[in-house]
Symmetry: C2
Subunit: 220 residues, 2 copies
């Protein structure tokens, strides 16, 4: 079984990806990498490391990209900027310029050193809030660029690419891990794990998807 | 005149690019960025900063990507590995996996914050020693990926793409800066500016190109 390196933040999306990868390939073939890039909540990095270890992955690595907050500005990294959508902007001010590209490139460099070809990332364009680097066109272009940059047959796997949040909850449930994802992951912009603050955009999206999935399950 | 951000190491290639950009757009429209990524010689970073200031660019920034040496290994960053070509390898062991991709991506994130679309990089595939990320196919793919990642009309300019070292010296001469490039830049793997140690692969390539150009000029 081929190994994969999962880009893992400890949020709903990447945890679901990680659980699926473990189910498909076995934990011994799964490596995880978490990026510390000046998040509002350092807890996210510690939580990710704890979950990865608990799930028994072959290796976990945290990479600090400290310079990131020094060259770009957004509400997710600047603690003084209120989270929201600026009038006329195409996406919320929580968009971190180049984030998924940076994660994939850095993960790719690290993966090649480990002899790994597959990279797994939990992006989704279904509920993507207008973030350009969640679109499939970006993911495909990035895969090609990585191959050309390093002469290495990378595959970028984005298993949630076309799933809504409700479908993502359904996937977690099929994996028998709905409660794990619900109670142990951190998606909330305020840094509260599980159901979170309930009022930030990330919590609302997550809760709406869960309600939709649980409603559909109730009717089934 | 549109501004450009020049990826600038203080070596022959990027200095020639910088001088050309200044000649075309005026120094007030030129910004430079230098990466400190665990080079064998920190002198390179200081030399680049000094040259950029002397040439009067609008801004200069050094970005430290310290984690780089922690996730990949090569002779350029590991001071214990002798520089050379491993038997059967497609390129020398000075190849730093993903380096030009990382430089371009980071420069792009920074450029977008400055409102800049153009990125200038001194890669050349004519004398590229087999480095995959010096090929035009990589540069074009990277440009497309950057546009998609950040929804911003980046242009990646690689004016040396098809120039040999001899043609590069000819360009510096046309700009009236042959002596500046020859005496003030640092290309040598041993960290010696100007004509360098004369024996490492970078010095040999540089010297051969210069001899070829000076020979052709003598004949003209």
């Amino acid at each position: 079984m081929e190994a994969t390196l999962v880009i893992f933040s400890g949020g709903q999306d990447s945890t679901t990806c990680l659980l699926q990868a473990i189910a498909e390939r076995g934990a011994e073939n799964i490596h995880t990498v978490t990026f510390a890039y000046g998040q509002r909540h350092k807890l996210e990095v510690e939580l990710a490391e704890g979950l990865a270890k608990e799930l028994g992955v072959a290796s976990h690595k945290t990479i600090a990209v400290d310079w990131y907050k020094d060259i770009t500005h957004n509400a997710l990294m600047d603690t003084v900027t209120p989270i929201g959508r600026t009038a006329g902007a195409t996406c919320p001010n929580t968009f971190v310029d180049g984030r998924n590209a940076l994660f994939l490139l850095t993960a790719a460099i690290y993966a090649k050193g480990l002899g790994i070809h597959d990279l797994t990332i939990g992006v989704s364009e279904a509920d993507y809030s207008g973030y350009p680097d969640c679109r499939e066109a970006f993911v495909k272009s990035m895969e090609q660029t990585l191959r050309l940059a390093m002469d290495w047959p990378f595959r970028v796997l984005a298993p949630l690419q076309h799933l809504t949040k409700a479908q993502e909850w359904a996937l977690a449930d099929r994996l028998g891990r709905l409660d794990f994802v619900r109670t142990r992951t951190l998606t909330c912009y305020e840094g509260i794990p599980g159901d979170g603050c309930g009022t930030c955009p990330a919590c609302k999206l997550r809760a709406a998807g869960l309600a939709e999935y649980l409603g559909s399950r109730g009717r089934a």
